[in-house]
């Protein structure tokens, strides 16, 4: 080395990094969502595509605008607004009027995220806040479900259909004869995704695949989804054992509604879930209990969104009480 006064970079250790980045994580989530997303596009056609494009554009636009108004650096490069847009679209009815989708997206980004300071500071999952806001504001539009499959010849696409959970709650629960329900909603259709519902939530199978991909890529800790789904299953088994005429079987609970999307992609949202291992277990179990309480006894046929949002509120508390025991101390 000839020159002595080379400019050396000085920083605190460590001087190596795993290469992980927020952007990389968001990209992985998008990849994990893709199979279920494409399935939704195929099943419900252009309305689903346009809905997704609208939600993503509205989310990114709202993010950029609010960052600029707050005079912060734009920060849309991290891809989190794109993920919020996709997740929001996936939990909406495919034929939802687009202006409603835009309202949902703006509420998700501005009210649920940027008002708190942006990514990392938001206590609630933005996509779920957007969805719940729409559920409350437009209760009728939010339950206009399109029948799955190619549109009929006369192109009246909005053939309304019932979702299994809603049909069970309003028509079949407690009836003496429930075989008709199982004929109308075969379990295999629910599992693979040939059912009416929010367009990204229909295929339990593809969402499960995406979730396993996230675990493999270490973007999701196993505790949250396993405890969430496990708790739902456990409660469903107990109820089903008590009265199978009144309560749906565990398999129907697992593969219908927003549970798979919620358990793998919403409850596991890093910002709004606990950071400790035990905390994730408590959080997952709490989501499971609340989901079942709302599904079985609540006014709505589906409770995943409310359950996760309620548990989001408890995250700081959960983190506090599930601190690991520090090495060399007897009590945490």
């Amino acid at each position: 080395m000839t020159e002595k006064n080379i400019n050396l970079a000085i920083s605190s250790s460590p001087h190596a990094h795993s290469g992980a980045s927020v952007r990389g994580i968001m990209l992985t989530v998008i990849i994990a969502l893709t199979p279920a997303l494409l399935w939704g596009f195929w099943l419900f056609g252009w309305p689903a595509v346009v809905l997704t494009a609208t939600c993503v554009a509205a989310c990114v636009g709202a993010e950029a605008l609010s960052r600029r108004l707050m005079k912060r650096n734009l920060g849309i490069g991290d891809g989190s607004a794109v993920v919020t847009g996709i997740l929001l679209a996936m939990c909406l009815p495919p034929s939802l009027p687009l202006f409603m989708a835009v309202i949902g997206a703006v509420v998700a980004i501005v009210l649920a995220k940027q008002v708190f300071g942006g990514l990392g500071y938001n206590p609630f999952n933005p996509a779920l806040v957007g969805r719940v806001f729409l559920t409350i504001s437009f209760p009728f539009a939010m339950i206009q479900w399109t029948a799955p499959g190619p549109p009929p010849a006369d192109d009246t696409h909005a053939v309304t259909a019932a979702t299994p959970l809603a049909a069970w709650e309003t028509e079949w629960s407690g009836q003496d004869e429930t075989a008709g329900f199982f004929e109308e909603f075969p379990l295999v259709d629910l599992f693979f995704g040939n059912q009416a519902g929010s367009f990204g939530e229909v295929s339990a199978f593809l969402l499960l695949l995406g979730g396993l991909f996230l675990i493999w890529r270490r973007c999701v800790h196993w505790q949250t989804p396993v405890f969430y789904l496990g708790t739902v299953t456990l409660i469903a088994i107990i109820l089903y054992g008590i009265d199978s005429q009144r309560y749906l079987s565990p398999a129907y609970h697992l593969f219908s509604g927003g549970l798979m999307l919620g358990a793998w992609f919403m409850a596991t949202d890093m910002v709004t879930s606990p950071v400790t291992s035990r905390g994730m277990m408590v959080f997952g179990a709490g989501c499971g209990v609340l989901t079942m309480v709302i599904r079985v006894w609540g006014g709505y046929p589906e409770g995943v969104s409310f359950a996760i949002l309620l548990m989001n509120a408890a995250v700081p508390l959960i983190n506090r009480y599930t601190r690991p025991r520090v090495f060399g101390t007897s009590k945490s």
Partner: protein, 453 residues
């Protein structure tokens, strides 16, 4: 002697890219005697040593240049014969400024009068032997630099029943201990034996990570002749497996209490290089004036494992290794996880310097940090089971109450949290700042309390 897998598994456990193949197969070579040395007086943990020589004084190899300035401090000796050119404050390998003695070699490498000291046999008086270890200026060569004689003389009431020899070398890039275990196995055995006898009856555990099968084999062979309760413990390769507390846990299942020392759980950990320095001091009468280190990094033309005299300039080492292949952007003293970024390559090798790492632009990450996204990875990987994300935010807010409640002082600064952080938060920097600030506050409180009473 038997070999077995580590019986306990500590928390955390990172698998960084090791880059050890750059030098793992390179035999240790001696660096030719340099003409100039920069000897820091703050090479060890504790009080910097007090200089004993004056400018322009001529010294011989092994002659004490500085004496300990407290109970936790260490002697420092001339690495070769020559003339003292300067005694002034400079940047050192620890990344801080300290008093440095500049020595110009006369090329003769002549021992000072009375040096090397007469060998001390194993049956010599115990205190005499420990005094010799102190007089040789030995301080933990794994990186912490804790004066070895202090560790060897536990206060009454503390007994050491397990001596652990640390050959884990879990830092990426570094292969010095690895090569020493292969090439210097016999001297190492001798050093282990000397330390064991100084401690009285105690079990010996030599711990090596399983990514060094050749070192495990060499040590198995060398240790055959060592009788008593001796075991070679094969550790899983996981960072920071070689950190003192984690190592003790992996080997014995005992947790060093928060704020305590290894002797509190009856353990003593010595680095491979330190054990060799002990036999050098006792069996050969040499003060600690040289060590083995790894010069490496993709910006260095010829990475190597080198035997260097203490005080050798990093410049000299880089020159010896063929210079920089591409301009280095960062020069690290030590390994990439816990090493110090050097402001200048004019500093000299310390007793604790295990490596010199030249990182080119493509290996250096200069990130902009963003808010924590709560991914929980740091919590999963923290070997102390802390919550680094919470501590990092509390550190930024200078919330000392929260920092103490969440035990920031237990952080070992291993860097696992920052390594995995997707938001690129400078966690270790936050921890170091918080720890220093809290320590300062405590000292202030202490002095004001003393003043009142």
């Amino acid at each position: 002697m038997k070999t077995r897998i580590a019986p306990y598994r500590c928390a955390g456990g990172l698998h960084p890219v090791y880059h050890k193949s750059l030098t793992a197969g390179a035999a240790v070579t001696a660096l030719p005697l340099p003409s100039i040395f920069a000897i820091s007086l703050a090479q060890h943990l504790g009080a910097p040593a007090r200089p004993l020589v004056k400018k322009n004084e001529t010294v011989g190899r092994g002659q004490p240049l500085a004496e300990p300035a407290g109970f936790i401090s260490a002697w420092i000796h001339a690495p070769t014969s020559g003339k003292i050119k300067a005694i002034d404050e400079q940047w050192t390998a620890t990344g801080r400024r300290a008093t440095v003695i500049t020595l110009e070699s006369d090329g003769e490498d002549r021992w000072a009068d009375g040096y090397p000291l007469p060998p001390l046999p194993a049956d010599a008086d115990r205190k005499q032997q420990i005094d010799r270890v102190a007089a040789a200026g030995i301080a933990g060569m794994g990186g912490a630099g804790f004066p070895t004689h202090v560790k060897l003389s536990p206060p009454p009431g503390k007994t050491i029943d397990t001596l652990i020899i640390n050959g884990a070398e879990c830092e990426p890039y570094l292969t010095a201990d690895h090569r020493v275990m292969i090439e210097d196995a016999d001297r190492l055995r001798q050093g282990i034996d000397r330390i064991r006898r100084l401690l009285g009856t105690c079990a010996v555990r030599i711990a090596i990570e399983d990514n060094k099968p050749d070192a495990i084999k060499a040590m198995e062979q060398a240790l055959q002749s060592l009788d008593g309760d001796v075991e070679l413990i094969v550790l899983p390769s996981a960072y920071p497996q070689g950190a003192e507390k984690q190592l003790i846990y992996s080997v014995t299942g005992r947790e060093v209490p928060s704020g305590g020392l290894p002797m509190d759980v009856g353990a003593l950990v010595e680095n491979v290089g330190t054990a060799i320095a002990v036999t050098d001091a006792l069996d050969s009468g040499w003060p600690l004036t040289e060590r083995v280190m790894t010069a490496t990094g993709s910006a260095l033309t010829q990475p190597a494992n080198l035997r260097v005299r203490i005080g050798t300039l990093f410049e000299t080492i880089i020159e010896h290794c063929g210079g920089a292949r591409i301009p280095p952007v960062k020069v690290i003293c030590g390994g990439p996880m816990m090493g110090t970024a050097l402001p200048s390559i004019a500093a000299g090798v310390c007793k604790t310097t295990s490596g010199l790492l030249l990182m080119p632009a493509d290996a250096v990450h200069l990130f902009e940090s963003t808010p924590c996204i709560g991914c929980g990875r740091c919590v999963m990987y923290c070997p102390m089971r802390l919550m680094p994300c919470t501590l990092s935010e509390a550190g930024e807010a200078e919330d000392d109450e929260l920092l103490e409640a969440f035990r920031v002082l237990d952080c070992i600064e291993c860097g696992s949290c920052a390594y995995v952080c997707p938001a690129h938060r400078p966690m270790v920097q936050h921890m170091k700042n918080s720890k220093a600030r809290i320590a300062l506050m405590r000292r202030k409180r202490e002095t004001s309390r003393q003043r009142e009473s």
